[in-house]
């Protein structure tokens, strides 16, 4: 039953993204597809991925990423962290790569609310963030390192390898097995994981959580004025989500 559902949703995915079955191998081609479609500009909608019409996304331009290689690496990595499944879209379908792009270009990326004066020391884990690097600098380096590690291990760029191979590399980052400059790979992985969830579940005005599908999967109704009339109800309340932008 479970397997059957999965197959249907895979078929839907293939149908909407307009790709032949043979082209879908692991997570790699999801991102490869991003570049492929948009680069060749031969897709009428420039769709990147998603489970249905609502969660597909068109090319929105970049504020931070410079090329498809960077963008695809983040798209693929976040999709491995938060994959599409029979419940609904993954990071790509939810627009998480665009969320991360705009966040890295703003306050978040430039650490404008953080104390960034030296001297910088490594510090103990209990002392938290002690890097001299901003989040934007950490991401840029992290993207390079993901690609370099893929090339080292599999002789292909990160976006060209199989999903399981991506997981192997992400796990190596998570376990601090990759040497990064000015920051640990564990720290970069944690930022990436957190940013993925932020993109999946923040208000759609931030470019992620497309169509509020992140909220819908989770049973979170988003912005609601009041629950005073429902909160004493013994039954679980399924409420159609609402975004701040939908507020009038």
């Amino acid at each position: 039953m479970e397997e059957n559902k999965k197959n249907i949703s895979r078929r839907d995915f293939l149908k909407t993204s307009g790709v032949a079955t043979g082209a879908l191998i692991g997570g790699g081609l999801i991102g490869g597809l991003v570049g492929y479609n948009i680069n060749k500009n031969d897709s009428p909608t420039n769709k990147i991925a998603g489970t249905d019409e609502h969660s597909t996304q068109t090319d929105q331009g970049w504020q931070f990423f410079r090329n498809y290689r960077e963008f695809d690496i983040i798209a693929n990595a976040t999709e491995r962290i938060y994959p599409e499944d029979d419940q609904g879209p993954g990071a790509i379908g939810l627009g998480v790569p665009y969320f991360i792009d705009s966040q890295l270009a703003g306050q978040y990326g430039s650490n404008s609310k953080e104390y960034m004066h030296g001297p910088f020391e490594v510090g103990a884990p209990t002392q938290g963030y002690q890097s001299r690097l901003t989040r934007a600098e950490i991401f840029r380096q992290g993207i390079e390192m993901l690609d370099a590690e893929a090339t080292k291990r599999f002789d292909k760029g990160f976006s060209k390898i199989e999903g399981a191979q991506m997981d192997e590399i992400l796990t190596a980052f998570q376990k601090d097995e990759i040497k990064m400059a000015g920051v640990t790979s564990t720290f970069f992985f944690r930022l990436l994981r957190t940013a993925t969830l932020e993109g999946a579940y923040s208000d759609p005005m931030y470019k992620g959580n497309v169509n509020m599908d992140g909220w819908r999967m989770k049973g979170f109704p988003g912005h609601q004025m009041a629950y005073i009339n429902e909160i004493e109800n013994e039954k679980f309340q399924k409420i159609e989500p609402q975004s701040l932008g939908g507020m009038h």
């Binding site: 962290i81 938290g128 932020e198 999967m217 989770k218 004493e232 679980f236 309340q237």
Partner: protein, 569 residues
């Protein structure tokens, strides 16, 4: 170039709960008050689009901008103290209303035991219950003395509650009835009753009904929208300074609010202070605001720092035990358990202080003769409104990312409940505040340095109370229960609680405290220092109720002082 302004009766530094209370009471009594606040002006109209977890809860929109000022942190004196570069463990407030804008509204009275903890512990368990390294001391005030001021604060905020805590007899009724008993709370109520404990509704500053306080300020009825902690209330239904005491102060005509005014020094001359020096954060201009009375109401950290940079009082030295400024910094210990259930619940609905509590393991309400710690904590279930970015409950054996993570975190979002305690924190000689020798703020002034770690007392308390939380969660029918893991070293990374206390403690003698029981500085009679920094230890409750009571009592002291002068004790 420093501009000296004309003298006022009272200058208040920081406009959160404490500054607002002092300003309102003094202005009502006819004193001319200026309130200096380094953040922005704000109020209910600014919270219209507040249901934004990312901006407010994750990116800390209402909190202190650390690029200008932070603290440094280390676990012990052997470590090098490093800046808290981003917010994490606790969330410092900034702007009108302070951290009282983004609080949850849990409002308690500390126990009689708290105020006389040294005397009562020694009497019952002997003088060596804890080692000499724990600097337990009485507060220089009793519960009975403070009781009327608790009630004044509760009336100001319209506190919603029920008088069913068997361990604390109240003389006065709660101003408004308790919040709604939701199905989630009822599960806790039944389980704790079946276990022989005494549950009662958590006293809430999100109000059960609309209310007009004795100053004539209106507070609206809570709508249970689920956005309290880290948010302001768009309904004006969560009591905070900007909808109560600040408008009360303004109405008198005796109060002026000056925002974007960052105080950098308290000016002392002989055994008095003459005013404060501040910087306009937009223009960079410096001003001196002379005043008959200076009141520091800028939270635990900044109150201590201003005294330190102004050389008022003697810095505490952990080697010699001499000095009182910076001593007895405490935090809060957070035992608890999480339960995973089969059925979906409305976990996303709620209010910051919607909860039920048992106090059977708080204070000295249970016998500690055979235990290797003192005190305890209030154990509560709260339904504050789960939000999707920061609430991804998974069991310990579930991967933290990937397909399994996604599935489990979505499944559990509406099927997980937690019971948590506000565990008391006892002062230790190695936990203290000082000035940092290396790092500076945007104005070139040293950062405050925190040296803090959990102690054996904390660890023992955590284990014991966690067992109780686990027992209750099992009784509530959770399919799987996970107890919180025992605490090791304190870390600044993960959010724990904004219940920092101590550093400018109150007491009966200048030998062991910074201020007297009116929060009047022992070394400068016209200087008052108000906040949870006055706590000689941290109790088993959220601190704001006790802070509010102390602020009302201090205001009375300031008004009396401005008539008579001299020491109030």
């Amino acid at each position: 170039m420093v501009t000296t302004l004309s003298k006022v009766d009272v200058v208040v530094v920081g406009l959160g709960w404490t500054g607002g209370i002092i300003a309102a009471e003094c202005a009502k009594a006819g004193l001319k008050v200026v309130g200096l606040e380094r953040g922005e002006e704000r109020g209910t109209e600014d919270y219209l689009k507040i249901h934004d977890e990312y901006r407010y809860a994750v990116r800390y929109e209402l909190m202190q901008n650390l690029s200008k000022e932070t603290i440094t942190i280390r676990n012990n004196r052997k470590m090098s103290a490093l800046p808290m570069r981003q917010l994490g463990s606790f969330l410092l407030g900034e702007g009108l209303g302070g951290s009282g804008t983004h609080w949850n509204g849990h409002t308690w009275r500390f126990y009689p035991y708290d105020f006389q903890i040294k005397t009562m512990t020694d009497k019952k368990y002997g003088p060596n219950k804890l080692s000499k390294d724990y600097q337990l001391q009485d507060w220089g005030i009793t519960y009975e003395e403070l009781e009327p001021y608790f009630y004044t604060y509760e009336q100001t905020i319209g506190l919603s509650g029920e008088d069913k805590n068997p361990f604390l007899k109240r003389k006065d009724p709660f101003p408004t009835p308790p919040m709604k008993r939701t199905p989630i709370l009822k599960k806790f109520e039944k389980a704790t009753q079946d276990l022989g404990y005494s549950p009662f509704m958590l006293p809430s500053a999100n109000l059960s009904e609309s209310y007009k306080n004795p100053d004539g300020e209106s507070i609206n009825a809570c709508q249970y929208c689920g956005f309290c902690e880290r948010f302001g209330c768009e309904y004006g239904a969560k009591s905070s300074a900007e909808i109560t005491v600040i408008p009360t102060a303004i109405k008198t005509g005796n109060f002026e609010t000056r925002v974007r005014a960052n105080v950098v020094e308290v000016i002392k001359s002989g055994n008095k202070v003459t005013g404060v020096r501040y910087i306009n954060t937009l223009s960079g201009e410096e001003f001196i605001q002379p005043a008959e009375v200076v009141v520091l109401t800028s939270y635990v950290m900044n109150n201590a720092k201003l005294l330190m940079v102004s050389n008022i009082g003697e810095q505490y030295n952990p080697d010699t035990g001499r000095g009182t400024l910076g001593k007895n910094y405490c935090y809060q210990i957070l035992p608890g358990a999480t339960g995973f259930f089969d059925d979906q619940m409305n976990t996303f609905m709620g209010a910051g202080a919607l909860g039920m509590t048992i106090d059977d393991f708080n204070a000295d309400n249970f016998d500690h003769s055979d235990l290797d710690f003192i005190h305890g904590g209030s154990l509560s279930i709260t339904q504050t409104g789960a939000r999707p970015i920061e609430s991804n409950p998974i069991q310990r054996d579930t991967p933290t990312w990937g397909a399994e993570f996604k599935k489990a975190s979505i499944h559990n979002f509406t099927r997980t409940l937690s019971i948590g305690a506000q565990g008391a924190s006892m002062p230790h000689k190695e936990n203290y505040l000082a000035l940092d020798g290396k790092y500076k703020d945007a104005y070139g002034i040293p950062l405050l340095q925190m040296t803090y770690n959990f102690t054996e007392q904390d660890r023992a308390l955590h284990v014991y109370i966690t067992e109780k939380a686990t027992e209750i969660m099992k009784e509530m029918g959770a399919k799987t229960v996970e107890s919180r893991t025992p605490i090791t070293d304190y870390d600044i990374v993960n959010y724990q609680t904004t219940h920092n206390t101590g550093g400018t403690i109150m007491g009966a003698s200048p030998e062991n405290s910074v201020v007297n029981s009116y929060l009047q500085h022992w070394d400068a009679e016209n200087l008052f220092v108000v906040g949870a920094g006055n706590f000689a230890h941290n109790g088993g409750y959220n601190p704001t109720g006790t802070v509010g009571a102390l602020a009302y009592r201090s205001a009375e002291g300031i008004i009396n002082y401005s008539k008579t002068g001299g020491s109030l004790v």
